[in-house]
C-alpha cells in the first residue's frame, strides 16, 4: 500500500463507516435488534429457530467472500497487512468468558452489535444494556493485564 494522503484517509474512514452502517442495517433487517426474537431463539421451551438463518446467512456469505479476498490479495486496501487472529489454543478464559457472555445474551436478548444499534435508536433498555456492557468491558480491563 502506498502512502495514504488526505483523500485516501477520508476514503478509508468512509469505507469503515459504510461497513458499520451495512452491518447495522443487516442487524435491523434480521431481527437481532429485537430481544424478544433473540430470547425466542435461545428459549428451548418456546423455540423460534428463524434466527439461525442470521448466523447461517452471515457465516456462509462471509466464508465465501473472505476466502476470495484472502486468496487474491496480500494486503487490504487501506492497511499494510491483514489483522487475523493467530491463537489456536483452548484455554479457561475462552470457555469461562464465552459462558458468561452466553448468560448475558440469554438474559438480555442482546449482544454488542445489536445492543449498540438499538441504543442508537434511543431505546431505553438498549441504552442501559450498552452502558452496562461498557462497564463490564471496563471491569475486565481492570482485572487483566492484557
Amino acid at each position: 500500500m502506498n502512502a495514504c494522503g488526505m483523500r485516501c484517509r477520508v476514503m478509508s474512514l468512509v469505507m469503515a463507516l459504510a461497513s458499520g452502517a451495512l452491518f447495522g442495517a443487516g442487524l435491523l433487517v434480521s431481527g437481532m435488534t429485537q430481544p424478544d426474537k433473540v430470547r425466542g431463539f435461545l428459549d428451548l421451551t418456546a423455540w423460534d429457530p428463524s434466527l439461525a438463518f442470521v448466523m447461517g446467512g452471515a457465516l456462509v456469505t462471509y466464508a465465501v467472500i473472505s476466502r476470495v479476498i484472502l486468496a487474491r490479495r496480500g494486503d487490504p486496501w487501506f492497511d499494510i497487512k491483514f489483522h487475523l487472529p493467530t491463537r489456536r489454543d483452548l484455554d479457561l478464559p475462552l470457555i469461562v468468558g464465552s459462558a458468561l457472555f452466553g448468560v448475558g445474551w440469554g438474559l438480555a436478548g442482546a449482544c454488542p452489535g445489536p445492543g449498540i444499534v438499538a441504543a442508537a435508536s434511543g431505546n431505553g433498555g438498549a441504552l442501559l444494556f450498552v452502558g452496562s456492557m461498557l462497564v463490564g468491558m471496563w471491569m475486565f480491563s481492570r482485572t487483566s493485564r492484557s
Binding site: 452491518f23 467472500i65 473472505s66 487490504p76 448468560v103 448475558g104 436478548g109
Partner: protein
C-alpha cells in the same frame, strides 16, 4: 416476507459488511473487539474503529426512525445484568457472536467453535430458565 427470509437477508448483509471491513481494513468484524479496542489506552488504531461504530450508530438512528418496531430493549434489571455479563464475558472470552460466530467459524477456528458451542449452550440455559421463571 416471513421472518426466516428477513433473518437470511439480514444475515447476508452482515456477511457482506464484515467482508467489506476485511477487504478495506483487514480487520475482523467482531463488535466486542472493535469497541473493546477503543476502551484500551494502548490502542493506536482508533479511527477505523470510531468510523465503524459510527456506522452502527447511524444505522440505529435511521432504523429507529424508519422502523421502530425493529428495535427493542430488555427490562432494566435484565438489561443491566445482561450487559455486564456480555461486556465482561466477550472481552474475557476474546469475542462475541460476530467475532467468533461469523468470522471465527468461517475460518473453522477451533477456538471459535468452542466459544460458540459454549455461549449458545449457556445462552439457551439462561433464556429458558428466564422463560420458565417469569
Amino acid at each position: 416476507m416471513s421472518s426466516w427470509a428477513y433473518a437470511l437477508a439480514g444475515g447476508v448483509m452482515i456477511g457482506v459488511a464484515a467482508a467489506l471491513l476485511l477487504l478495506t481494513h483487514g480487520r475482523i468484524a467482531g463488535i466486542s473487539g472493535i469497541a473493546g479496542g477503543l476502551l484500551s489506552a494502548t490502542t493506536r488504531d482508533r479511527s477505523w474503529r470510531v468510523a465503524f461504530l459510527g456506522g452502527l450508530l447511524i444505522a440505529g438512528l435511521i432504523g429507529g426512525l424508519l422502523a421502530p418496531a425493529a428495535v427493542g430493549g430488555a427490562s432494566a434489571p435484565l438489561a443491566i445484568a445482561g450487559g455486564l455479563l456480555v461486556g465482561f464475558g466477550a472481552r474475557y472470552g476474546s469475542g462475541c457472536t460476530s467475532g467468533h460466530g461469523v468470522c471465527g467459524l468461517s475460518r473453522l477456528s477451533r477456538r471459535s467453535l468452542v466459544a460458540v458451542a459454549v455461549f449458545m449452550s449457556t445462552g439457551a440455559i439462561a433464556a429458558t430458565l428466564r422463560g420458565v421463571l417469569s
